[in-house]
Protein backbone atom coordinates (compact mmCIF):
# COMPACT_ATOMS: atom_id res chain seq x y z
CA UNK A 1 0.00 0.00 0.00
CA UNK A 2 2.76 2.44 0.92
CA UNK A 3 4.50 1.82 -2.38
CA UNK A 4 1.29 2.62 -4.32
CA UNK A 5 0.68 5.76 -2.24
CA UNK A 6 4.28 6.89 -2.73
CA UNK A 7 3.94 6.32 -6.47
CA UNK A 8 0.74 8.40 -6.49
CA UNK A 9 2.53 11.17 -4.58
CA UNK A 10 5.34 11.19 -7.13
CA UNK A 11 2.86 11.11 -10.00
CA UNK A 12 0.86 14.03 -8.64
CA UNK A 13 4.01 16.11 -7.92
CA UNK A 14 5.27 15.36 -11.44
CA UNK A 15 1.91 16.38 -12.86
CA UNK A 16 1.92 19.67 -10.91
CA UNK A 17 5.46 20.47 -12.08
CA UNK A 18 4.65 19.54 -15.68
CA UNK A 19 1.48 21.66 -15.75
CA UNK A 20 3.15 24.69 -14.12
CA UNK A 21 6.05 24.45 -16.58
CA UNK A 22 3.63 24.21 -19.49
CA UNK A 23 1.71 27.25 -18.25
CA UNK A 24 4.95 29.21 -17.86
CA UNK A 25 5.95 28.33 -21.44
CA UNK A 26 2.42 29.18 -22.64
CA UNK A 27 1.80 25.61 -23.88
CA UNK A 28 -1.33 25.44 -21.72
CA UNK A 29 -3.54 28.43 -21.06
CA UNK A 30 -4.08 29.26 -17.38
CA UNK A 31 -7.81 28.52 -17.48
CA UNK A 32 -7.18 25.01 -18.78
CA UNK A 33 -4.42 24.31 -16.26
CA UNK A 34 -6.88 24.68 -13.37
CA UNK A 35 -8.52 21.29 -14.08
CA UNK A 36 -5.16 19.51 -14.16
CA UNK A 37 -3.82 21.27 -11.07
CA UNK A 38 -7.02 20.55 -9.15
CA UNK A 39 -6.79 16.87 -10.08
CA UNK A 40 -3.10 16.68 -9.18
CA UNK A 41 -3.51 18.42 -5.81
CA UNK A 42 -6.44 16.15 -4.90
CA UNK A 43 -4.29 13.12 -5.70
CA UNK A 44 -1.42 14.53 -3.65
CA UNK A 45 -3.63 15.14 -0.62
CA UNK A 46 -5.27 11.70 -0.80
CA UNK A 47 -1.96 9.89 -1.22
CA UNK A 48 -0.42 11.66 1.82
CA UNK A 49 -3.40 11.67 4.17
CA UNK A 50 -4.38 8.24 5.50
CA UNK A 51 -7.31 9.79 7.32
CA UNK A 52 -8.77 11.32 4.13
CA UNK A 53 -8.23 8.13 2.13
CA UNK A 54 -9.76 5.90 4.83
CA UNK A 55 -12.75 8.24 5.09
CA UNK A 56 -13.38 8.06 1.35
CA UNK A 57 -12.96 4.27 1.34
CA UNK A 58 -15.50 3.99 4.20
CA UNK A 59 -17.85 6.38 2.42
CA UNK A 60 -17.71 4.33 -0.78
CA UNK A 61 -17.94 1.04 1.10
CA UNK A 62 -14.57 -0.15 -0.17
CA UNK A 63 -12.52 -2.26 2.24
CA UNK A 64 -9.20 -1.55 0.57
CA UNK A 65 -8.20 2.18 0.69
CA UNK A 66 -5.75 1.97 -2.30
CA UNK A 67 -8.62 0.65 -4.39
CA UNK A 68 -10.63 3.69 -3.33
CA UNK A 69 -7.70 5.88 -4.37
CA UNK A 70 -7.63 4.29 -7.84
CA UNK A 71 -11.39 4.81 -8.14
CA UNK A 72 -11.05 8.48 -7.16
CA UNK A 73 -8.16 8.92 -9.62
CA UNK A 74 -10.31 7.40 -12.39
CA UNK A 75 -13.26 9.67 -11.54
CA UNK A 76 -11.11 12.80 -11.43
CA UNK A 77 -9.60 12.13 -14.84
CA UNK A 78 -13.02 11.28 -16.29
CA UNK A 79 -14.24 14.70 -15.13
CA UNK A 80 -11.15 16.40 -16.60
CA UNK A 81 -11.68 14.54 -19.90
CA UNK A 82 -15.34 15.51 -19.95
CA UNK A 83 -14.44 19.14 -19.39
CA UNK A 84 -11.97 19.05 -22.27
CA UNK A 85 -14.53 17.34 -24.52
CA UNK A 86 -16.87 20.30 -23.99
CA UNK A 87 -14.00 22.73 -24.63
CA UNK A 88 -13.03 20.89 -27.85
CA UNK A 89 -16.66 20.87 -29.01
CA UNK A 90 -16.96 24.62 -28.44
CA UNK A 91 -13.69 25.20 -30.27
CA UNK A 92 -14.82 23.03 -33.20
CA UNK A 93 -18.11 24.95 -33.47
CA UNK A 94 -16.23 28.25 -33.40
CA UNK A 95 -13.75 26.96 -35.94
CA UNK A 96 -16.49 25.83 -38.36
CA UNK A 97 -18.28 29.13 -37.98
CA UNK A 98 -15.06 31.06 -38.65
CA UNK A 99 -14.18 28.95 -41.68
CA UNK A 100 -17.65 29.53 -43.13
CA UNK A 101 -17.35 33.26 -42.46
CA UNK A 102 -13.93 33.41 -44.15
CA UNK A 103 -15.33 31.53 -47.17
CA UNK A 104 -18.33 33.87 -47.42
CA UNK A 105 -16.18 37.00 -47.06
CA UNK A 106 -13.80 35.75 -49.77
CA UNK A 107 -16.83 35.11 -51.97
CA UNK A 108 -18.03 38.71 -51.47
CA UNK A 109 -14.51 40.09 -52.05
CA UNK A 110 -14.08 38.15 -55.29
CA UNK A 111 -17.48 39.40 -56.51
CA UNK A 112 -16.52 42.98 -55.63
CA UNK A 113 -13.27 42.69 -57.57
CA UNK A 114 -15.05 41.17 -60.56
CA UNK A 115 -17.70 43.89 -60.50
CA UNK A 116 -14.98 46.59 -60.35
CA UNK A 117 -13.09 45.05 -63.25
CA UNK A 118 -16.20 44.43 -65.35
CA UNK A 119 -18.80 47.00 -64.24
CA UNK A 120 -22.36 46.18 -65.27
CA UNK A 121 -23.80 48.67 -67.81
CA UNK A 122 -26.49 50.92 -66.30
Amino acid sequence: MDRLLNFMTLLSVALIVLVLRSVRRAHIRVEYSVSWLGAAVTLLVLSRSNWALDSIARLLGIADPPLALLLVVGCIFLIVLYRFSTVISDLKDANISLAQRVGILEYHLRNLHENQENPKPR
Partner: protein, 243 residues
Protein backbone atom coordinates in the same frame (compact mmCIF):
# COMPACT_ATOMS: atom_id res chain seq x y z
CA UNK B 1 -41.04 24.68 -67.55
CA UNK B 2 -39.36 27.08 -65.13
CA UNK B 3 -41.67 29.70 -63.64
CA UNK B 4 -40.69 33.36 -63.97
CA UNK B 5 -37.87 34.12 -61.57
CA UNK B 6 -37.37 37.36 -59.74
CA UNK B 7 -34.01 38.71 -58.64
CA UNK B 8 -32.88 36.97 -55.41
CA UNK B 9 -35.58 34.37 -55.85
CA UNK B 10 -33.79 31.07 -56.33
CA UNK B 11 -30.20 30.03 -55.70
CA UNK B 12 -28.73 26.64 -56.55
CA UNK B 13 -25.97 25.42 -54.24
CA UNK B 14 -23.69 22.56 -55.18
CA UNK B 15 -21.60 21.19 -52.30
CA UNK B 16 -18.51 19.51 -53.70
CA UNK B 17 -15.40 17.86 -52.34
CA UNK B 18 -12.91 16.58 -54.91
CA UNK B 19 -15.56 16.41 -57.64
CA UNK B 20 -13.52 17.90 -60.49
CA UNK B 21 -14.54 14.97 -62.68
CA UNK B 22 -18.25 15.73 -62.42
CA UNK B 23 -18.90 19.24 -61.10
CA UNK B 24 -18.42 20.94 -64.48
CA UNK B 25 -21.10 18.84 -66.11
CA UNK B 26 -23.40 19.33 -63.11
CA UNK B 27 -23.07 23.12 -63.41
CA UNK B 28 -23.71 22.99 -67.19
CA UNK B 29 -26.82 20.85 -66.66
CA UNK B 30 -28.14 23.11 -63.91
CA UNK B 31 -27.68 26.19 -66.12
CA UNK B 32 -29.53 24.42 -68.92
CA UNK B 33 -32.35 23.35 -66.62
CA UNK B 34 -32.83 26.76 -64.98
CA UNK B 35 -31.25 29.43 -67.20
CA UNK B 36 -30.37 32.65 -65.43
CA UNK B 37 -30.48 31.15 -61.96
CA UNK B 38 -27.20 31.69 -60.08
CA UNK B 39 -25.23 28.58 -59.19
CA UNK B 40 -22.80 28.56 -56.27
CA UNK B 41 -20.44 25.63 -55.87
CA UNK B 42 -19.30 25.23 -52.29
CA UNK B 43 -15.81 23.84 -52.54
CA UNK B 44 -15.00 22.06 -49.29
CA UNK B 45 -11.25 22.58 -49.67
CA UNK B 46 -10.83 20.17 -52.58
CA UNK B 47 -7.35 19.27 -53.78
CA UNK B 48 -8.28 18.31 -57.35
CA UNK B 49 -9.18 21.62 -58.99
CA UNK B 50 -12.92 21.48 -58.30
CA UNK B 51 -13.03 25.29 -57.93
CA UNK B 52 -11.37 25.92 -61.29
CA UNK B 53 -13.63 23.47 -63.12
CA UNK B 54 -16.73 24.98 -61.48
CA UNK B 55 -15.72 28.55 -62.41
CA UNK B 56 -14.96 27.55 -65.99
CA UNK B 57 -18.43 26.01 -66.18
CA UNK B 58 -19.97 29.33 -65.15
CA UNK B 59 -20.63 28.91 -61.44
CA UNK B 60 -19.58 31.18 -58.61
CA UNK B 61 -17.46 29.41 -56.04
CA UNK B 62 -17.50 29.69 -52.27
CA UNK B 63 -14.18 28.16 -51.22
CA UNK B 64 -13.86 26.99 -47.64
CA UNK B 65 -10.42 27.45 -46.07
CA UNK B 66 -10.37 23.91 -44.69
CA UNK B 67 -12.42 20.75 -45.01
CA UNK B 68 -15.62 21.02 -42.96
CA UNK B 69 -17.57 17.99 -44.17
CA UNK B 70 -20.88 17.94 -46.01
CA UNK B 71 -22.99 19.66 -43.37
CA UNK B 72 -20.49 22.47 -42.82
CA UNK B 73 -20.35 23.13 -46.55
CA UNK B 74 -24.10 23.07 -47.06
CA UNK B 75 -24.59 25.36 -44.07
CA UNK B 76 -22.08 27.84 -45.53
CA UNK B 77 -24.22 27.88 -48.68
CA UNK B 78 -27.38 28.44 -46.64
CA UNK B 79 -25.74 31.29 -44.72
CA UNK B 80 -24.61 32.95 -47.95
CA UNK B 81 -28.08 32.57 -49.49
CA UNK B 82 -29.76 34.00 -46.41
CA UNK B 83 -27.40 36.98 -46.28
CA UNK B 84 -27.93 37.67 -49.97
CA UNK B 85 -31.69 37.65 -49.45
CA UNK B 86 -32.69 34.60 -51.50
CA UNK B 87 -36.19 33.22 -51.02
CA UNK B 88 -35.46 29.65 -52.06
CA UNK B 89 -32.38 27.47 -52.21
CA UNK B 90 -32.09 24.10 -53.90
CA UNK B 91 -29.14 21.85 -53.17
CA UNK B 92 -27.77 19.67 -55.95
CA UNK B 93 -24.87 17.35 -55.15
CA UNK B 94 -21.65 17.79 -57.10
CA UNK B 95 -21.27 14.10 -57.96
CA UNK B 96 -23.97 14.22 -60.63
CA UNK B 97 -26.41 11.78 -59.01
CA UNK B 98 -29.14 14.41 -58.92
CA UNK B 99 -30.75 15.19 -62.26
CA UNK B 100 -30.97 18.99 -62.57
CA UNK B 101 -34.02 18.64 -64.87
CA UNK B 102 -35.99 18.01 -61.65
CA UNK B 103 -35.05 21.41 -60.19
CA UNK B 104 -38.03 23.29 -61.70
CA UNK B 105 -40.45 20.80 -60.12
CA UNK B 106 -38.85 21.15 -56.68
CA UNK B 107 -38.91 24.93 -57.05
CA UNK B 108 -42.53 24.90 -58.14
CA UNK B 109 -43.51 22.72 -55.16
CA UNK B 110 -41.72 25.12 -52.79
CA UNK B 111 -43.18 28.23 -54.38
CA UNK B 112 -46.81 27.17 -54.66
CA UNK B 113 -47.20 25.38 -51.33
CA UNK B 114 -46.59 26.27 -47.73
CA UNK B 115 -43.73 23.80 -47.42
CA UNK B 116 -40.51 24.89 -45.79
CA UNK B 117 -38.68 21.97 -47.39
CA UNK B 118 -39.22 19.84 -50.47
CA UNK B 119 -37.28 16.60 -50.81
CA UNK B 120 -36.52 14.99 -54.14
CA UNK B 121 -37.28 11.35 -53.48
CA UNK B 122 -35.97 8.47 -55.59
CA UNK B 123 -38.38 6.00 -53.98
CA UNK B 124 -41.78 7.61 -54.50
CA UNK B 125 -42.36 6.02 -57.88
CA UNK B 126 -39.89 3.18 -57.77
CA UNK B 127 -39.08 1.60 -54.41
CA UNK B 128 -36.43 -0.70 -55.88
CA UNK B 129 -34.29 2.08 -57.29
CA UNK B 130 -30.67 1.45 -58.26
CA UNK B 131 -29.33 1.91 -54.76
CA UNK B 132 -26.89 -0.30 -52.90
CA UNK B 133 -28.10 -3.00 -50.51
CA UNK B 134 -26.54 -1.23 -47.51
CA UNK B 135 -28.16 2.09 -48.36
CA UNK B 136 -31.49 0.41 -48.99
CA UNK B 137 -31.39 -1.20 -45.52
CA UNK B 138 -30.45 2.15 -43.96
CA UNK B 139 -33.28 3.96 -45.72
CA UNK B 140 -35.85 1.38 -44.61
CA UNK B 141 -34.53 1.51 -41.04
CA UNK B 142 -34.77 5.30 -40.86
CA UNK B 143 -38.25 5.30 -42.41
CA UNK B 144 -39.39 3.24 -39.42
CA UNK B 145 -37.49 5.39 -36.89
CA UNK B 146 -38.70 8.70 -38.33
CA UNK B 147 -42.36 7.76 -38.87
CA UNK B 148 -43.49 8.44 -35.25
CA UNK B 149 -41.18 11.47 -34.83
CA UNK B 150 -42.22 13.24 -38.01
CA UNK B 151 -45.87 12.21 -37.72
CA UNK B 152 -45.96 11.20 -41.36
CA UNK B 153 -44.07 8.80 -43.58
CA UNK B 154 -40.94 9.86 -45.46
CA UNK B 155 -39.83 7.64 -48.34
CA UNK B 156 -36.32 8.94 -48.94
CA UNK B 157 -34.95 10.48 -45.73
CA UNK B 158 -31.32 10.31 -46.92
CA UNK B 159 -31.87 12.33 -50.09
CA UNK B 160 -29.66 15.39 -50.45
CA UNK B 161 -31.68 16.73 -53.38
CA UNK B 162 -33.68 19.24 -51.33
CA UNK B 163 -35.11 22.69 -51.65
CA UNK B 164 -35.79 25.02 -48.73
CA UNK B 165 -37.55 28.34 -48.35
CA UNK B 166 -36.36 31.40 -46.44
CA UNK B 167 -37.88 30.31 -43.11
CA UNK B 168 -35.89 27.07 -43.23
CA UNK B 169 -32.84 29.01 -44.42
CA UNK B 170 -32.96 31.12 -41.28
CA UNK B 171 -33.16 28.04 -39.06
CA UNK B 172 -30.42 26.19 -40.94
CA UNK B 173 -28.07 29.15 -41.11
CA UNK B 174 -28.15 29.24 -37.31
CA UNK B 175 -28.15 25.53 -36.61
CA UNK B 176 -27.45 22.71 -39.03
CA UNK B 177 -26.30 19.15 -38.46
CA UNK B 178 -22.70 19.04 -39.57
CA UNK B 179 -21.69 15.50 -40.39
CA UNK B 180 -24.65 13.62 -41.91
CA UNK B 181 -27.22 16.39 -42.24
CA UNK B 182 -30.17 15.03 -44.24
CA UNK B 183 -32.08 13.05 -41.64
CA UNK B 184 -31.32 15.29 -38.67
CA UNK B 185 -32.32 18.34 -40.71
CA UNK B 186 -35.76 16.80 -41.17
CA UNK B 187 -36.14 16.42 -37.42
CA UNK B 188 -34.88 19.96 -36.81
CA UNK B 189 -37.57 21.34 -39.12
CA UNK B 190 -40.34 19.10 -37.83
CA UNK B 191 -39.58 20.11 -34.23
CA UNK B 192 -40.32 23.68 -35.26
CA UNK B 193 -43.64 22.57 -36.74
CA UNK B 194 -42.38 23.25 -40.29
CA UNK B 195 -43.85 21.32 -43.20
CA UNK B 196 -42.05 19.21 -45.76
CA UNK B 197 -43.11 17.23 -48.80
CA UNK B 198 -41.52 14.74 -51.13
CA UNK B 199 -41.72 14.77 -54.88
CA UNK B 200 -40.45 12.03 -57.19
CA UNK B 201 -37.09 12.66 -58.87
CA UNK B 202 -34.65 10.72 -61.00
CA UNK B 203 -31.34 9.62 -59.51
CA UNK B 204 -28.39 8.64 -61.64
CA UNK B 205 -25.08 6.87 -61.05
CA UNK B 206 -22.21 9.16 -60.05
CA UNK B 207 -20.67 11.00 -62.98
CA UNK B 208 -17.22 10.75 -61.48
CA UNK B 209 -15.19 10.28 -58.30
CA UNK B 210 -16.10 7.60 -55.84
CA UNK B 211 -18.34 7.31 -52.81
CA UNK B 212 -16.64 7.62 -49.44
CA UNK B 213 -19.18 5.29 -47.79
CA UNK B 214 -17.79 1.96 -46.58
CA UNK B 215 -19.38 -0.82 -44.49
CA UNK B 216 -17.78 0.48 -41.27
CA UNK B 217 -18.79 4.04 -42.09
CA UNK B 218 -22.36 2.87 -42.70
CA UNK B 219 -22.59 1.50 -39.16
CA UNK B 220 -21.06 4.68 -37.78
CA UNK B 221 -23.51 6.66 -39.92
CA UNK B 222 -26.53 4.86 -38.46
CA UNK B 223 -25.32 5.28 -34.85
CA UNK B 224 -24.36 8.93 -35.39
CA UNK B 225 -27.66 9.84 -37.02
CA UNK B 226 -29.70 7.94 -34.42
CA UNK B 227 -27.94 9.89 -31.66
CA UNK B 228 -28.45 13.15 -33.56
CA UNK B 229 -32.17 12.48 -33.99
CA UNK B 230 -32.50 11.60 -30.31
CA UNK B 231 -30.66 14.77 -29.22
CA UNK B 232 -32.83 16.96 -31.45
CA UNK B 233 -35.97 15.46 -29.96
CA UNK B 234 -34.62 16.13 -26.45
CA UNK B 235 -33.66 19.73 -27.32
CA UNK B 236 -37.18 20.45 -28.45
CA UNK B 237 -38.79 18.85 -25.42
CA UNK B 238 -36.64 20.84 -23.02
CA UNK B 239 -37.53 24.08 -24.78
CA UNK B 240 -41.23 23.21 -24.67
CA UNK B 241 -41.10 22.47 -20.95
CA UNK B 242 -39.43 25.82 -20.25
CA UNK B 243 -42.33 27.72 -21.82
Amino acid sequence: MTPALHDRDLLIIVPAYNEAASVGQVVHEVREAVPGVPVVVIDDCSTDGTSTVAREAGASVLSLPHHLGLGGGVQAGYKLAYELGYEYVIRVDGDGQHDPRDIPRIYEALRTNAYQMVIGSRFLENDADQTSFGRSVGVRFFRIVLRPILGKPVRDPTSGFVGVNRQALLVFSRSFPLEYPEIEALVVLQRRAFQFAEIPVRMRPRLGGRSSITAVKSIYYILHVLLGVFVNVLKFDRRRWKR
